[in-house]
Symmetry: C2
Subunit: 197 residues, 2 copies
DNA sequence: ACCTGAACACCGTTCAAGT
DNA sequence: ACCTGAACACCGTTCAAGT
């Protein structure tokens, strides 16, 4: 065990964030308390206030961090050399894998109440997610792999479909272990439609 | 103004639920406090404990009530005499209208943490929602309006797509006023696919 | 610049006691 | 059967003061 704790923690902000994410994963958002985080960091209950103006600011920082990781995962999963169907499947797999591994974090990321101060950054991250999909769809369209409907409609159905899957999994309404094995079918049906040809 | 409040409220349970839903709609879930609800019902802070074993039990009752209303709306919107596309559009419209009118309630209904005591009832309501979709899809399939893929896959894509739309709207990620006007396109794309025929 | 300790105004929950 | 009032153990947030 170390000697007496130094007055300055040194890295309190990241310690709090890491600890908060662990609590989120293990006990859920309701169990998140600033005082408890301070306690387990060995710091006074008022110390977090130095790094986060209030509890929502810490939650926003968690969400922002989540988006950054999701976006990195999606971007590195996107292989522009692939044809539409495998390319979309790979992107979807990255998204769903994140949803399976971090359901509570995803729920937090989706949540509607954020500090106005964080809104702009969060919105940027959402745009970054969307632009990954947009790139894929624009490419596919220019190669004649998609119908000639407006981009917005195609984007919306694609995003809603994958987002819905992720939400169903994160909410526990659809089993996590099945969603990845049925993903190929899912993407195929999305591209080919439910109606007989 | 009435005379002195009687000792027995008479209808405290429904009063609390109604008041809670108003708070949810107007101020969000974070602003929901049992003590505040008790105050505005003119009752002691311990009185709600008689009708709800804890705060989560009240939230579960709200969610349950929400599902009942959503299910009624969806069932009465389902017209079995219609062909697949208009029939699905009508059902989807009912779902999305609910999502637009009660985004916070929907978020609560989707939420993953409920009392074990409420889990069975909530699960029944979800099954009831799914069976409405299942009826539509079974009918359409028997009439040759759907491809010959297994029901589960068709259900999953349909549910995920509409659920995703509702979630995007409830989260404020997609404008509520647009989702209803673009709904016809959305359903059409879902049925016909994104790929050229 | 960063943290503490006390203070303030809230919570949810429990439980004896009242009607 | 239903509600009250006090009590308990928690919160988040603020702010002077310490290092």
């Amino acid at each position: 065990m170390s000697a007496s704790r130094p007055y300055h923690h040194g890295d309190l902000r990241s310690t709090l964030l890491a600890s908060a994410e662990r609590t989120l994963r293990e006990k859920g958002a309701a169990a998140l308390s600033l005082r408890e985080l301070a306690r387990s960091a060995g710091v006074s209950h008022a110390a977090p206030g130095r790094h986060f103006k209030d509890k929502q600011a810490l939650l926003d920082a968690l969400a922002l961090n989540g988006y950054a990781r999701l976006n990195e995962a999606m971007e590195s999963a996107d292989d522009a050399t692939l044809p539409l169907e495998p390319r979309l499947t790979s992107l979807a797999r990255a998204y769903l894998t994140f949803a399976i591994q971090h359901p509570e974090l995803l729920e937090l990321m989706y949540s509607r109440k954020h500090d106005p101060a964080s809104a702009a950054q969060l919105s940027d991250e959402v745009d970054r997610s969307l632009s990954t999909f947009l790139r894929l769809i624009t490419d596919a369209k220019s190669q004649g792999e998609l119908i000639n409907t407006d981009l917005d409609s195609i984007m919306l159905l694609t995003a809603a479909s994958l987002h819905g899957l992720a939400a169903l999994v994160a909410a526990g309404a659809y089993p996590a272990d099945e969603v990845l094995t049925t993903l190929d079918t899912h993407v195929h049906l999305l591209l080919d439609g439910l109606r007989p040809r």
